[in-house]
């Protein structure tokens, strides 16, 4: 069976400062994984390299067996950044149309309406998302990440800025994606979320220091810097 996400000696350094030590990792299809670590531990670096947004210094990452960044990998992967970006001349609804159609979804409207409804954004669908508050921008980014089909969902700090309703809705959406077979890798500081996943990865100063079930880990210790 092909791994949904695999890395082989994947490493990144910025000059003389290593951001991620060489990492070998396999995440099987359908697995629900949390990625934790202190600030600067390498979580975002790992996710961005897996998404193809950052060139590795060494090694490679693959999505569903395809090199990250390749057309096939992009078809399978949805990426939710911790710093959502939007066009400043398109409404939220136009963004949803754009992203849906870019991914070849002919009937995107139904899914878009459902997502806006659940994320309580229906009233703002014709507004420009660059004018939204931090929390609303995060919700809009979630809608854009989920309006298109995906096999692997990479999420970086999804709970930042969300109110309690938003957090609940996001958790529901992630659970639903997992139920239909998607692979989830979520980088988070929200330690309560760790209990909902089947596998925990912990990074410290760019090195993988824990890979196993969350029930066997002392998460509070794992997220401390060295």
């Amino acid at each position: 069976m092909t791994a949904a996400l695999s890395t082989h000696q994947l490493a990144k350094d910025y000059g003389d400062r290593p951001a991620l030590e060489p990492l070998d990792l396999e995440v099987p299809e359908g697995q629900h994984v949390a990625l934790v670590g202190h600030n600067g531990s390498g979580k975002t670096t790992l996710l961005r390299m897996a998404a193809g947004l950052l060139d590795p210094s060494a090694g490679e990452a693959r999505i569903m067996g395809h090199v990250s960044g390749s057309l096939e990998a992009r078809r399978s992967l949805s990426w939710l950044s911790d710093t959502p970006t939007f066009y400043d001349d398109l409404s939220l609804w136009e963004h949803l149309e754009y992203v849906g159609r870019l991914h070849g979804v002919a009937e995107w409207q139904g899914k878009a309406e459902e997502l806006l409804e659940r994320l309580q954004l229906s009233a703002r669908r014709d507004d420009i998302p660059t004018t939204f508050s931090r929390g609303l921008r995060q919700k809009a980014a979630i809608a854009l990440g989920m309006v298109r089909p995906f096999d692997v969902l990479l999420v970086d700090e999804p709970f930042v800025g969300l109110d309690s309703n938003g957090k609940t809705t996001l958790l529901e959406l992630l659970d639903e994606a997992a139920q239909v077979g998607a692979t989830l890798l979520v980088a988070t500081h929200e330690l309560a979320f760790v209990g909902r996943v089947g596998r925990l990865l912990a990074l410290r100063d760019g090195a993988l220091v824990y890979d196993g079930p969350p029930s066997e880990a002392d998460v509070h210790t794992l997220v401390l810097p060295a």
Binding site: D55, W79, L102, G104, P149, G181
Partner: protein
């Protein structure tokens, strides 16, 4: 879960780009756009007219014309060599294409052909560069045509062709370096080889790699078929670069997207400090993690001035090597231009002023950092002006080695004549320091003023806003010019047969006087503004009291 049809994706990209274009046109403030065109026309046209008037109309002598014909291609090829170097270095650092941040996330991560998606932004980049190059080349060409054989129109055309080719070399080299993932060290080496080889062609008359490119500029006088090879070379670089577009690094595009958007905004706001900062970030030029030398705490024990002095040196001693080389090159350029003034090319002192201004923006980094953190500076229990003025000491001293570079460059440009040593040494430091003072004025003028109303300028009529904007840009250059034109004194003394060294000393004192005035302005600016404001408020209160009593 993936069930998509890629062709639909590209149709969406085309539709949405069209729709966004309509949105942009709909949102365009036509009055504002027309006003910008008007301002550009006034100042651009004025500059062209001024330069045109400063160039004599009588044809050059036959000897000079022969000199232009034999050395012109190599000299003009040197500019193309610099464009090539800028291109390969820019490409290795992620240029020349810049996308919007949202395009990187939504378009580049979508399952569509990246080459097709990147085609339009790349063509736009090429088109704007070629247009700018052609326009600048055309204007300069017609100016040259007024003194050289050939019609003005032919010179305009050949200048435009040369400028367009230069721009195509720049964009093509950048595209190739980026798509072929040329490492930065190799890109710099390639660029330096090109420049050095072409410089050898200028100096010793060997065949240079960019001679044919330079020769295109002389088509207004004579046409050589073989020069077409230069156009073919530039075209080939562009075609191969465009064919390899899908190899552009998403990492570089993502990094550049946010920076380029900020850069454009900073340019529209005439925010030079931000432009320079962002340019450094685009070039991935970072301060060293540790200074070359760490100063002991003994300096800090001397109180406030010692603390600021130590902080300034720790910033300056973190300058990366490329930045130091760039500053040395600027200093050398200033020396050469001053030597040109001495040799009779009077307008060259304006070039010295501009270079001095740029050097000031580089060397005054500790001051800039303090201005960037204005809130922190305002929270300190010291007068802001006193703090800012203390930040000038360390950069001023740091200019000394660059002054030596400028003096040596000027001395060499004056034919390494023994009599030129003393005046060059006397004038170098005050000229560099004075030139850098323009940079200080620019930095301090951009400092937020907590005492003034931020909306003050919003109530100005558009004509006044344009005028104040122009003053804001030009004034620092004027200050630099005041201190660099002092080189005219030793030139005049030489022509009259007086003591050149004594005249150089007088010029140096003049430059230092301007520096002293600017120092006092930095120190007392806030206090003076407060006094003026209090005086104005008093006047207003008195007037309203008079009116109410009447």
């Amino acid at each position: 879960m993936s069930d998509t049809a890629p062709s639909v994706g590209f149709d969406a990209l085309r539709d949405l780009r069209r729709r966004r274009q309509l949105h942009r046109l709909g949102n365009l403030d036509w009055f504002e756009a027309a006003y910008r065109v008007y301002l550009f026309g006034i100042f651009g046209g004025g500059a062209v007219l001024w330069i045109s008037n400063s160039i004599k109309d009588e044809p050059v002598s036959e000897a000079v014309a022969a000199d232009v014909l034999s050395h012109g291609p190599a000299v003009l090829g040197l500019l193309v060599a610099f464009a090539f170097m800028a291109g390969v270095r820019g490409g290795a650092q992620g240029g020349p294409v810049a996308l919007e941040a949202a395009d990187v996330v939504y378009v580049m991560l979508a399952p569509i052909d990246r080459r097709r998606a990147l085609w339009k932004p790349a063509v736009q980049r090429l088109r704007s560069a070629v247009f700018t190059g052609a326009m600048a080349g055309g204007v300069i060409g017609q100016l040259a045509g007024r003194r050289l054989p050939g019609s003005t129109i032919a010179w305009f055309g050949s200048g435009a062709l040369y400028g367009a080719n230069l721009a195509a070399v720049w964009v093509g080299a950048a595209l190739l370096a980026h798509t072929l993932r040329v490492p930065r060290w190799l890109a710099t080496s390639l660029g330096l080889v090109g420049v050095a080889w072409q410089a050898a062609a200028v100096t010793w008359g060997v065949v240079g790699p960019f001679d044919l490119d330079g020769s295109l500029a002389l088509w207004g006088w004579r046409v050589r078929g073989i020069d077409v090879l230069a156009l073919a070379g530039a075209l080939a670089m562009v075609v191969v670069g465009m064919a390899l577009l899908r190899r552009l690094s998403l990492d570089a595009l993502a990094r550049r997207s946010a920076l380029v958007a900020q850069l454009r905004f900073a340019v529209t706001m005439q925010d030079l400090r931000t432009v320079i900062l962002l340019r450094r970030q685009l070039n991935q030029e970072h301060a060293r993690r540790r200074p070359y030398v760490r100063l002991g705490v003994a300096g800090a024990s001397k109180g406030f001035t010692g603390t600021v002095w130590r902080r300034g040196w720790h910033g300056l001693l973190r300058f990366p090597v490329p930045r130091l080389i760039r500053m040395a090159a600027i200093a050398a350029g200033m020396g050469v231009l001053q030597a040109m003034v001495v040799r009779g090319t009077t307008p060259a002192f304006l070039g010295t002023a501009v270079l001095g201004f740029v050097l000031g923006l580089e060397i005054m980094e500790p001051l800039s950092q303090e201005v960037d953190q204005a809130d922190r500076a305002d929270a300190l229990p010291v007068e802001r002006g006193e703090l800012m003025s203390r930040h000038l000491f360390a950069p001023a001293v740091a200019l000394l080695p660059f002054a030596l570079v400028a003096a040596v460059a000027a001395w060499l440009a004056l034919g390494a004549h023994g009599d030129a040593v003393a005046p060059a040494l006397v004038l170098a430091f005050p000229t560099l320091l004075g030139g850098a003072t323009g940079g200080v004025v620019s930095i301090i003028k951009d400092m937020p003023d907590p005492a003034s109303a931020p909306t003050q300028q919003n109530f100005m009529p558009p004509e006044m806003v344009g005028f104040t904007t122009a003053i804001r840009i030009v004034w620092p250059i004027v200050v630099s010019t005041l201190t660099t034109c002092t080189v005219l004194l030793p030139r005049a003394a030489f022509e009259r047969g007086d003591s050149v060294v004594a005249a150089a000393v007088r010029g140096a004192l003049g430059s230092l006087l301007v520096v002293l005035l600017v120092f006092q302005w930095v120190r007392l600016r806030d206090r003076l503004r407060r006094k003026i404001r209090a005086f104005m408020d008093e006047g207003r209160a008195y007037t309203s009291q008079q009116r109410s009593s009447a």
